[in-house]
């Protein structure tokens, strides 16, 4: 296969496109690719070679950041299959999910101590794990991209909430 900077992330990493992937293999491939392309390899080379190295190194890092993060990977799969997320225009969510979000927000407002916050963080982590499992089924077994996009939008809510919990924990640590 002829690779170029426009090849998709999975092609660049030589991996089958899908949600489930072998993280250890991804990390190893990333290092192999950077061994070839990193600007440090071209520190004494001419300016053209340095420029090409920079472009490739950047492209490899971009693909790696996207593939290693489950949420970004899922968003990318949706886009590749013509089902863009459009999070800002599409906020319709099942009522039950929204109820749970509101409950979490209230709990966070009322949480006072570190113990409360860490219990919430655990709960969110568990919810996130279940959702990722669902994403894998929808993507790799059902291959239902509009449904995947819907699940990704829900996961975005959860991740944002997880970040809010974390920053509350940070504030407490200071």
């Amino acid at each position: 296969m002829n690779l170029n900077l426009q090849s998709n992330d999975f092609e660049i990493f030589g991996m089958a496109p899908g949600f489930g992937l072998d993280r250890a293999a991804l990390d190893a491939r990333w290092k192999d690719l950077q061994r070839e392309a990193h600007p440090d390899r071209f520190a004494t080379a001419d300016a053209q070679a340095q420029r090409v190295a920079m472009q490739w190194s950047v492209r490899i890092n971009e693909a790696y950041q996207r593939l290693k993060d489950p949420l970004k990977r899922a968003v990318y799969l949706c886009e590749l299959h013509g089902a863009p997320i459009q999070a800002e225009n599409n906020t319709a969510m099942p009522a039950a999910f929204l109820m749970q979000q509101m409950q979490w927000r209230e709990d966070l407002d009322e949480a006072s101590g570190l113990a409360d916050l860490e219990r919430m963080a655990d709960e969110v982590t568990a919810a996130r794990r279940d959702m990722l499992q669902g994403l894998q089924t929808t993507s790799d077994e059902l291959r239902d991209w509009p449904a995947l996009a819907q699940q990704v939008r829900a996961l975005m809510f959860v991740e944002r909430f997880a970040r809010d919990v974390e920053s509350r924990i940070d504030l407490l640590g200071q």
Binding site: N2, L3, N4, I12, G14, R29, K31, D32, L33, Q34, R35, E36, A37, H38, P39, D40, R41, A43, T44, A45, D46, A47, Q48, A49, R51, V52, A53, M54, W56, S57, V58, N61, E62, Y64, Q65, E166, D170, G173, Q174
Partner: protein
């Protein structure tokens, strides 16, 4: 002493000739230079045998004549006698405005604001932090050139991992002023990991706890088969051994009931005494603190427990950063295989004990904490210069602080999150706020907070000439590019009209290229040299390097070229070889540029081959 090498006139640079490449640790309290000699990294000593150079510069009254300054131990010795003109800890001022320098009023010299930058007022005039640092760097450069009896090819300079873009840029500017070709800026803890990891053949996850004179860094690295991958980094660019000294001094003065404001000379003396007592207490059960302040002699017995108590808040601050960086790396402290201690301040027993208790293991201290950063930098410099036979060392570093731009309401939209692997480029689309808006002001900031006011302002620039559209219709793509040194450039493009603007982020308090050129004119770097002659030498070196690199590339991959492509490149090489004989720098540069352009497509083809081979699981050498 090494034998001088004499080459025939006009002979081109032998591509296999060894290049003098060094690692420089530009520290808050002291600096070092190291190089790989006979396959071993070692710190280079001054003629008196000492490897450490105190990062202190004393400016003398120009009316007295002479060289006008003292650097290193001489300057340090004069600090108490002449505090106002003796600049120490200048690293704390790098890339900072006066207001941003922590405890600026506690410094024994006067810091004023000039063009948004903290500068030092001395008897020899105002000195920028870059100029002061350049004196130190130039001293180390001359030391290296004397050691090898050869010109310096380039240097890897270390910076605290937590340095922001402005501080990195200031460091690079200082090196340029000192006439040093910067091969790469690398992070201090990463350098320490290289020295440590290669020495011990380690594999696994390591924490590097680096408490220097003025900065604190904590980094988590994964070491696998010569690859040093920084997983996360954090710390505090204004917390170090100096603060422990200050805290001890303040405690002693409080115990003694000294409330009066000290004059600069007393302040310098008290600070120096605090440092001495702190150092003695690392291996002693008690020490007497003596100083003369406000006309009386004070004496206070200090125990290690006293020192611990009055600096406990500082120790705690470092451990808060340690917990945060573990979370960023997504690992628990049990997964850390070893903890490397770097920086002179980690000699304090309380630090070793606190870190050891947290990680549940004895920290590693078998390399000299003062030297380990310079040693690691020299190993990387040697590899970058192409001297190293095993090309297996690879650093994959990250950006320490998030980068973003200001949006409506003074909020920060993060574009590059912290701990992203570099080099990197990330883009985000923005739009206009008002109907008919034809310009957009972009404000680039760095930091983790949500409000612009709480982040570092890096640069402002404008995108003009956007065709008038209704609000929200324009699509402006802003791209942040961070290179392998961790330095940022930003571009903006309106997607519909193609209107473009870009800026290399030179912070307001950094130096413009013109300023650097002007400063170079009267600096030591070119004082005796005709700038024109220097430009010609540099153009010829670049040309020789380009020819050598192209020939190497052709030897390896000439089969990628089709038809007369090979002949065209050969013709360009021949033209450049002719041009090198010219005495006009511009002619040489033009021919070099022509060869560069003519090999553009070839470079891309070679990289594609390299990538394909990596995918096939083969290394280039094996094919």
């Amino acid at each position: 002493m090494a034998l001088l090498q004499i080459s025939e006139p006009g002979q081109s640079l032998d591509p296999h000739q060894r290049r003098v490449a060094v690692g420089i640790d530009l520290g808050t309290t002291h600096s070092l230079v190291a190089a790989v000699r006979h396959g071993v990294a070692e710190c280079l000593p001054a003629t008196d045998g000492r490897v450490i150079l105190p990062s202190v510069v004393r400016y003398l009254d120009p009316a007295l004549g002479g060289s006008g300054r003292q650097i290193g131990f001489d300057a340090l010795a004069a600090q108490v006698q002449d505090p106002a003109n003796t600049v120490s800890s200048v690293k704390r001022l790098m890339g900072r405005s006066r207001a941003q320098v922590v405890d600026v009023d506690k410094l024994a010299y006067t810091v004023v604001e000039q063009d948004g930058m903290a500068v030092v007022e001395t008897v020899a005039g105002r000195k920028t932090p870059m100029e002061v640092s350049a004196e130190i760097l130039a001293t180390l450069r001359f030391r290296a050139e004397d050691s090898f009896d050869d010109e310096l090819y380039g240097a890897v300079i270390t910076v605290p991992a937590y340095f922001d873009d402005a501080q990195r840029q200031a460091t690079k500017d200082a090196a340029q002023l000192a006439g040093i070709n910067v091969l790469r800026l690398i992070n201090e803890p990463t350098a320490a990991a290289i020295a440590y990891g290669l020495d011990n053949g380690s594999e696994g996850v390591y924490a590097i706890y680096d408490l220097g004179g003025g900065t604190f860094d904590i980094s988590i690295l994964r070491l696998t088969q010569g690859v040093f991958e920084v997983m996360a980094t954090g710390g505090d660019s204004a917390l170090g051994g100096d603060d422990f000294d200050q805290a001890l001094a303040a405690w002693v003065l409080a115990q003694q009931g000294v409330g009066a404001t000290l004059n600069p000379s007393e302040r310098a003396a008290v600070h120096a005494e605090a440092r001495r007592v702190k150092e003695v207490l690392s291996s002693s059960a008690s020490e007497s603190f003596r100083a003369v302040v406000a006309g009386r002699t004070i004496e206070q017995t200090v125990s290690p427990a006293d020192l611990e108590a009055c600096t406990a808040a500082l120790t705690t601050r470092t451990m808060t950063a340690v917990r945060k960086v573990l979370r960023d790396a997504g690992i628990t402290k049990d997964e850390v295989k070893g903890v490397v201690m770097v920086g002179g301040s980690t000699r304090m027993p309380v630090i070793r004990r606190t870190v050891g208790e947290f990680f549940g293991q004895e920290p590693l201290t078998n390399l000299n904490p003062d030297e380990v950063v310079a040693l690691g930098a020299s190993i990387q410099a040697n590899a970058l210069a192409g001297n190293s036979k095993d090309g297996d060392l690879l650093l994959l570093d990250v950006i320490p602080l998030s980068l973003g731009i200001e949006t409506m309401g003074g909020l920060v939209e993060r574009i590059v999150p912290r701990n992203s692997s570099i080099p990197t480029a990330l883009a985000q689309d923005f739009t206009t706020y008002q109907d008919g808006q034809t310009a957009l002001a972009l404000h680039v900031v760095q930091g983790e907070r949500d409000l612009v006011g709480d982040c570092r302002s890096l640069a402002r620039f404008e995108l003009r000439g956007i065709p008038p559209m209704v609000a929200g219709a324009a699509r402006i793509r802003v791209t942040f590019t961070v290179d392998a040194d961790g330095l940022l450039s930003v571009s903006a493009k309106e997607q519909g009209s193609g209107v473009e603007a870009r800026v290399d982020v030179k912070p307001a308090y950094g130096l413009s290229d013109e300023q650097i050129a002007a400063m170079l004119q009267d600096s030591f770097a070119t004082a005796q040299q005709d700038i024109q002659a220097r430009a010609l030498v540099e153009a010829r070196v670049d040309a020789d390097r380009m020819i050598a690199a192209t020939r190497t590339a052709l030897a390896a991959d000439t089969d990628l070229l089709e038809g007369d492509e090979r002949q065209q490149i050969d013709a360009l090489i021949e033209a450049l070889t002719q041009a090198v004989g010219s005495t006009d720098a511009a002619t040489v540069e033009a021919a070099t540029a022509a060869l560069a352009k003519g090999t553009e497509a070839f470079a891309a083809l070679r990289m594609n081959r390299g990538i394909r081979q990596a995918l096939a699981g083969k290394k280039l050498e094996e094919v």
